[in-house]
């Protein structure tokens, strides 16, 4: 029998997966790689965190392990997207024509 906690958890799962879906939409729609990183990795990170929270509501005895996954994601996700952005910039990746200011290129003379 589904309890109140189960229903709250399922609702959180739907919210989280809605963010996953929006991340996919952003990844397809954004014009250049930097914006794709922004739209893709950030919204999906929040989506996964909400999913973890939702599962923790449905299965309270799993919450320690879910917390471990959440902490791990919180630390590794920003690092990997930062490193990707830096690699693309150093490699001279193409920017969308909408980009109107690039202080990094000005400073590094690239």
């Amino acid at each position: 029998m589904a309890t109140m906690l189960d229903l709250i958890g399922a609702l959180l799962l739907v919210c989280g997966t809605a963010f996953l879906f929006l991340g996919g939409v952003g990844l397809v729609r954004m014009p250049d790689t930097y914006n794709r990183i922004q739209a893709g990795t950030k919204t999906t990170t929040l989506g996964t965190l909400l999913t973890l929270l939702g599962v923790a509501f449905i299965h309270p005895d799993w919450s320690f392990k879910l917390l471990l996954i959440a902490i791990f994601l919180l630390f590794t996700n920003p690092l990997s997207s930062q490193i990707m952005a830096r690699a693309i910039h150093r490699n001279g990746g193409d920017q969308s024509p909408l980009t109107h200011i690039d202080r990094l290129a000005e400073d590094k003379g690239r």
């Binding site: 790689t33 794709r36 879910l66 990746g93």
Partner: protein
């Protein structure tokens, strides 16, 4: 009543995850640059972690959460390696 609502919500969540996965896969196939593919790959793994957690929930087995953890670890390493490779120039 509550039971049916629960099943409906879980089903909706699964459908949304699948749609997100397919959209990301579209970007992965289209590219156009290798950097775009790596970003799409990163997002695919994050969505897959949610998928694995769904699998754990459906099968009611906590051991699948370890799979999700190791998957997160490996994808982080993969992205770092590819980024270092891109920095040296292709």
């Amino acid at each position: 009543m509550a039971e049916q609502l629960f099943v409906l919500l879980i089903g909706l969540a699964a459908v949304l995850t699948a749609c997100g996965f397919l959209l990301t896969l579209l970007r992965f196939v289209k590219g156009p640059s290798s950097a775009d593919r790596v970003v799409a790959f990163d997002v695919l793994t994050i969505i897959s972690i949610s998928g694995i957690i769904f699998a754990a929930l459906m099968a009611d087995r906590i051991i699948y959460l370890d799979v999700a953890l190791v998957y997160a670890l490996l994808s982080f390493l993969g992205v770092i390696v590819v980024a270092r490779y891109l920095e040296r120039g292709l």
